[in-house]
Symmetry: C2
Subunit: 199 residues, 2 copies
DNA sequence: TCGAGGAACATTGTTGACAATTGACAATGC
DNA sequence: GCATTGTCAATTGTCAACAATGTTCCTCGA
């Protein structure tokens, strides 16, 4: 996985995974002191991590009261999010077709293999992780990865309802379809597959 | 202005204004200890504020090294940002045309008056503040303001180059054009004016 | 001259203690 | 009975000291 040097990142990664995999349901409050004991560290890095996740949209904070896991976005908001993700990821794919760097294809192929396996298994956290990694690879490929920080909070908000509304194997085939179109150098087909995949 | 109860927010607001108004140029490093002395408080709230602004895209952080004011987005990234802002704000305006709540028009009119005045003056910080407030009103009007947290970081990244590339009075007239179309209940015209305004 | 090592410094990361705020509930007055 | 006020526990906000890390610059040897 990722080896974060500082505690703040470790805590944030851990909590992020627990939220996205559905282990922490919307509305669940997170107490700084409780988490500090749980992780065996002080409240400082916990605070930083919670602030991090709040800005990513996974938590909502009320001053002097605390944070809790954010609710799924409303239908209206989710619809906007879908369009934003499409815009970002489509731009990234179009940018890739300018260079057609084979390194990215290699990474996507590797991810696909792992993803297929994970979708068959039972570790939902792993599935989420790989799904996210797939799209992250796409976004990172464009313009030196400058879009990632823009894309991540949008992506995360959408994944708040990941666990409960997904046919995993179908999702895998959609990923595979995108990569196939990229291999075949069919830009329009790749963009169309992406658009149909993000809903 | 806004009266934040906690120091963290006060510091964040203050620094945000200084960055957006161009007093703090891209690349400028911000030291926790220096700011703590400057504000007369300890490093704790400063840390929180810097983390805040980092997640908003105004600062970039390197672990164990510190933060500095972010650079303007690349041409490629800026183009994506433009499309994202259009998507969000257009959605918000379309949502308003479902209800046509006159309260929003009143607020926009008030903002326009202040904005016109500020564009004539010399306080660039004030101009930025009011320009941002205008668009924030639009976004807040839709779906109980659920889009604001999505919109803000996108907006802020775009405003990193605000000070150096704007004809203020023209900007005012564009705002006025949008509001005029809303008063006249011409949705298409409002959306078109918005699209032309966000570039 | 140039690069490797390393000491000194500046800066961020972490910690535990204390202060301020909140929300719930009991006591009070009408 | 009902609103108001006081009190208390839980929680976040703030602080100052200490630890760990990164940077700078100097020395030393080839």
């Amino acid at each position: 996985m990722k080896l974060a040097a500082n505690l703040q990142e470790q805590v944030a990664s851990h909590l992020r995974r627990r939220i996205l995999s559905g282990q922490l349901l919307p509305g669940t409050p997170l107490r700084e002191q409780t988490l500090a004991v749980e992780f065996g560290i002080s409240r400082g890095p916990i605070r930083d991590a919670l602030l991090h996740l709040t800005k990513e949209g996974l938590l909502i904070a009320r001053p002097n009261v605390g944070v809790r896991v954010a609710n799924e976005p409303s239908g209206f908001k989710r619809n906007v999010i879908v369009h934003l993700r499409r815009e970002i990821e489509a731009s990234a794919i179009s940018a890739w077709f300018e260079t057609k760097d084979p390194a990215l294809l290699k990474q996507l192929d590797d991810n696909l293999a792992l993803y297929k396996e994970a979708c068959g298994g039972s570790d939902l956290g792993q599935v989420v992780e790989l799904d996210m990694a797939f799209h992250r690879l796409l976004v990172e490929g464009a313009d030196n990865g400058s879009l990632v920080d823009l894309w991540l909070p949008i992506m995360l908000r959408m994944f708040l309802r990941y666990s409960r509304h997904r046919d995993l194997m179908e999702s895998y085939h959609e990923h595979a379809g995108i990569v196939r179109a990229m291999h075949a150098r069919h830009e329009w087909e790749a963009l169309e597959a992406l658009k149909l995949h993000i809903v």
